[in-house]
């Protein structure tokens, strides 16, 4: 599927990846769910569902709804907890799958503790600190929206692990560049952006919010131009490698993120409608490179033609 002559490998935060296409946290389960569809080693890697110290149940239904070219979710970080992940999920993955573990907590100490426990686990190549979950009242929104809180979080998680540390930023901020600089200053190895955009929808017939929680996160193709803007802004603000996320469903979408400065990309919501989406993005990216005479996909990074800016 990959033309011989194209070198798809990239480096992200010190990790060598087979190719720049990963699957995004919360859209790829613990990887195992995609085994019926393809060999997970075909991807650059995947980010597992965000883990907390203890298992979490999440919000009552309805948790999802469809909107124009996108969806809303308010899962509220239901997950099996870090111990069950290490014991039951990780060992079942085939060797050679690059797993990025995503970390979440309601207190900074919890984040740090989860980071500690994940460090050294076989197959886990990096950690992604989810500072940006848009629908947990006591959690993500504050961490990722306040530069001081974010700094504390990055410092604590940085100290808790020797693994490469990615920080996943919230899009619900006035200046993503400021948040990017905070992460760089506190020793993060890379950034992932964006998480879902805070949103709301209502059923005019029942007059109720479509989600039990009211607020939810908007994801899917609708947010791509917002995500691309933020990656472009972050890439100009910091030197850190960036994993671009938001609405990616085709190889052309992925190319856009690389051109504005991302080193790799994550496919999210598209996995739901097409379980082969990430694989198809990988194949299409290789075809794009072959068609455009790009020998190394890494050369696309920041290769936007936008003189003077």
């Amino acid at each position: 599927m990959i033309p011989e002559e194209v070198d798809l490998s990239v480096e992200l935060a010190g990790v060598r990846l087979r190719n720049p296409v990963l699957a995004a946290s919360g859209t790829f389960g613990y990887g195992l769910e995609f085994e019926p569809f393809f060999d997970l080693r075909e991807l650059g890697g995947f980010v597992a569902k965000s883990l907390t110290l203890e298992p979490r149940h999440g919000n009552p239904p309805p948790r999802i709804a469809e909107v124009a070219a996108g969806m809303l979710n308010s899962i509220s970080l239901e997950n099996v907890g870090v111990e069950a992940f290490l014991r039951e999920k990780l060992p079942r993955l085939p060797a050679g799958v690059a797993v990025v573990a995503s970390v979440f907590g309601t207190e900074i100490e919890q984040y740090a503790e989860v980071c500690k426990r994940l460090t050294g686990a076989p197959g886990v190549v990096a950690l992604e600190v989810n500072a940006s979950c848009p629908h947990v009242k006591s959690g993500g929104i504050e961490f990722g929206q306040d530069p001081r809180v974010l700094a504390t979080l990055v410092r604590a998680t940085r100290a808790a692990t020797s693994l490469p540390l990615l920080v996943k930023l919230s899009p619900n901020v006035t200046s993503v560049a400021e948040m990017a600089r905070v992460c760089e200053g506190e020793g993060a190895d890379g950034l992932s952006l964006i998480n879902a955009v805070q949103a709301f929808d209502v059923d005019p017939e029942t007059r109720r919010p479509v989600l039990w929680n009211g607020l939810g996160g908007l994801s899917g193709p609708a947010i791509l131009p917002i995500a691309l803007r933020m990656v472009w802004q972050a890439a100009r603000a910091v030197k850190l490698p960036i994993c671009g996320i938001g609405g990616i469903a085709t190889a052309a979408d992925a190319v856009k993120f690389l051109l504005v400065g991302a080193s790799a990309v994550q496919v999210g919501t598209a996995n739901y409608l097409n379980p082969l989406a990430a694989l198809e993005v990988r194949d299409g990216l290789a075809a794009y490179c072959a068609r455009h005479g790009v020998a190394r996909v890494a050369d696309l990074r920041g290769a936007l033609d936008f003189p003077g800016r």
């Binding site: 999440g58 309805p62 999802i64 996108g70 609708a222 082969l276």
Partner: protein, 267 residues
């Protein structure tokens, strides 16, 4: 039971015809390699035929029960209720519908000789048909089908052709008994039934579960939740368990023993 294989095919539309009222039957060519499915399993269908160029609205696939499988042909019975099903209704023979499946865990096999009652309300009728097909060889099957009006009743002829004990109910009395299909269930339970299998709107399933519990009969519910993925990764289809926490309709269900859920918390 080891999970059967799951595949994605862009299946050609073979037929897409009105079944009367708002209901239609879609026949897809899923190919000979399509895995066998158990009664109660489902597929995720793209909301309408794949367009001539990418269009992202509506975005998410729609869950539909496998109504019938004949070689490479897979039938789905569906009701036009909103955007996705309206666009599916416009799919022409030869166009393709993205199909992922079979998904979920179906109905448990009835014990040999057990007298079972199937309760189908609205679109839920499609979910219990394959169970009727397979169960009638094992023991007596009573099928109770309900809808608002006669024209909304799905698959009546197909059930009739099976030769099962068939009873109908409609809100307006335009077919069968006037009233709710669960009133039929109450009757049938009093006549003697060993297990209940139900699919339909939430209030119907809550009532069916209550009736079965009162009669001390096991009750299996097939839930019709909103879904994004259908295979356990979005966590969007959660329903409350009777134990703390949630079950996923697409992965742990769609069929659940009623007692395992907090049925008053169903969406």
């Amino acid at each position: 039971m080891s999970a059967p294989a799951t595949v994605r095919v862009d299946a050609a539309v073979l037929e897409n015809e009105s079944e009367g009222g708002p209901n239609r039957r879609l026949r897809l060519d899923v190919g000979a390699a399509w895995p066998d499915s158990a009664p109660g399993q489902f597929v995720m269908l793209s909301p309408g035929a794949l367009p001539a160029a990418v269009r992202w609205d509506p975005l998410l696939p729609r869950p539909m029960a496998v109504f019938r499988r004949e070689g490479a042909a897979l039938d789905v019975l569906y009701k036009v209720t909103g955007r996705g099903t309206a666009l599916l209704a416009a799919a022409q023979p030869g166009e393709r519908v993205r199909t992922v499946g079979p998904l979920g865990c179906g109905f448990p096999e009835p014990a040999p000789g057990a007298r079972i009652a199937l309760v189908g309300g609205g679109t839920g009728i499609a979910s219990v048909f394959d169970l009727a097909v397979r169960a009638r060889a094992r023991g007596p099957v009573t099928a109770l089908l309900g809808a608002r009006r006669a024209e909304e009743l799905m698959a009546v002829a197909a059930f009739r052709a099976l030769g099962v004990d068939l009873r109908l109910a409609t809100d307006d009395g335009s077919a069968g008994q006037r009233g709710l299909v669960t009133e039929l269930l109450a009757q049938v339970l009093s006549e003697g039934v060993d297990a209940v299998y139900a699919c339909g709107p939430t209030p119907m399933m809550q009532r069916a579960a209550a009736l079965a519990a009162a009669a001390a009969r096991p009750c299996f519910l097939s839930l019709e939740n909103r879904m994004a993925c259908g295979f356990g990764v979005c966590l969007g289809c959660a329903v409350p368990r009777s134990a703390p926490g949630y079950a996923l309709v697409c992965r742990d269900g769609p069929v659940f023993e009623a007692a395992s859920l907090r049925v008053d918390g169903l969406p």
